[in-house]
Subunit: 210 residues, 2 copies
């Protein structure tokens, strides 16, 4: 900290405050939705005066866009596990693992993402049509290859992907429901592990890869 300040307080301040704001914004957007979130609330949560937010992020939309882009990066990154794997068991197993971990570590971001898509993707429609479409197409082909090679049953690759997304994301988006059904307590380490295992085993067996 002291060192950073000595070297360059300029950049450090900006970085620190932007991160602080983005983190607060993520939480507020997740809990209140875009329409329900207020700059004042975000400012309070970030511990900064409201006018200061507007110094770093001109408008609410801009701030929101940054938050969404941030989670999309993480989201896409989880896909890396998919690529360098010999077959469906390793690839899909690792993917489930990665996405479950995202649900656990970034519940707010996940909710913001879900909210964004549910509302018709007003700010990331172009990503859906470019990056995501490509990604999906590529993975679908890969899955089809595995099917052709007899490594798994004949399943529509698209619907398998949807299922992976749905199931893993559910633990973030509907975390409150799950928590309520869990006696009002968040899932423990053990329970998270069980969740992962359940998802993994049902899906891998379900596609005939085990």
């Amino acid at each position: 900290m002291a060192e950073v300040e000595r070297i360059s307080k300029r950049g450090a301040i900006r970085q620190e405050n932007e991160a602080r704001i983005l983190s607060a914004a993520e939480k507020v957007f997740a809990e209140a939705g875009f329409g329900g979130a207020t700059m004042q609330l975000i400012a309070d949560m970030a511990g900064l005066p409201k006018a200061n937010l507007h110094y770093y992020f001109a408008t609410k939309e801009e701030l929101y866009r940054k938050v969404v882009q941030q989670i999309f990066e993480i989201w896409l990154h989880a896909a890396d596990s998919f690529d360098d794997a010999p077959g469906p068991v390793e690839a899909i197993g690792a993917y489930i693992d990665a996405k479950m971990e995202i649900s656990r570590r970034h519940p707010f971001g996940s909710k913001v993402w879900a909210s964004e898509v549910m509302h018709g993707a007003p700010v990331i429609q172009d990503y859906l049509e470019t990056t995501l479409r490509e990604w999906t197409g590529g993975r679908a082909k890969l899955i089809q290859k595995w099917i052709d090679e007899g490594k798994m049953a004949s399943i529509d690759p698209r619907h398998l992907l949807y299922m992976l997304w749905a199931t893993t994301q559910h633990y973030a988006d509907f975390g409150h429901q799950i928590e309520t059904l869990n006696g009002g307590k968040p899932l423990s380490d053990r329970q998270w592990k069980e969740a992962k295992e359940s998802v993994r085993s049902i899906i891998l067996r379900g596609i005939g890869a085990l």
Copy 2:
């Protein structure tokens, strides 16, 4: 219509307008979220002056609550299929069918429900803690019975239920994403059928019930 009016225009008007408003509200809440929805927008969509909404529904909260309750009823009703079935194949198959149909027929309601839960269930928390908790507990026991009877593999019943909810609801909540990945077109009849089949076969095989 004419008959209804002749019999009792009083009750008919109320019923007609409330239904009109609820339908418009469902759509607007789904597309904009609670915070983003405005009474004016709902009024316009219902074809009524804003002041008229407040005649039937005192506050935005009250209107919202009605919308959420409405979808919760439908949601619970889909569970009927679960009860009078001899084993997991029939029960879960029928449940998937029913829930997929809800996602297709009531995409707005599904989104409102998802949004409500994602935001911490501010208005239906009590339902979650009573009705839903009971329902879930009952089904979990039933599933456990099937496991004990050797009708399916040993899977944590809770996580199986979560998976069913997640997967089926995904087709409503993330319908926009799916549509985008489908070339910008809504799923056709055939594609919906394929979706159902995919979900059904993966899950039923996944739990070792086939």
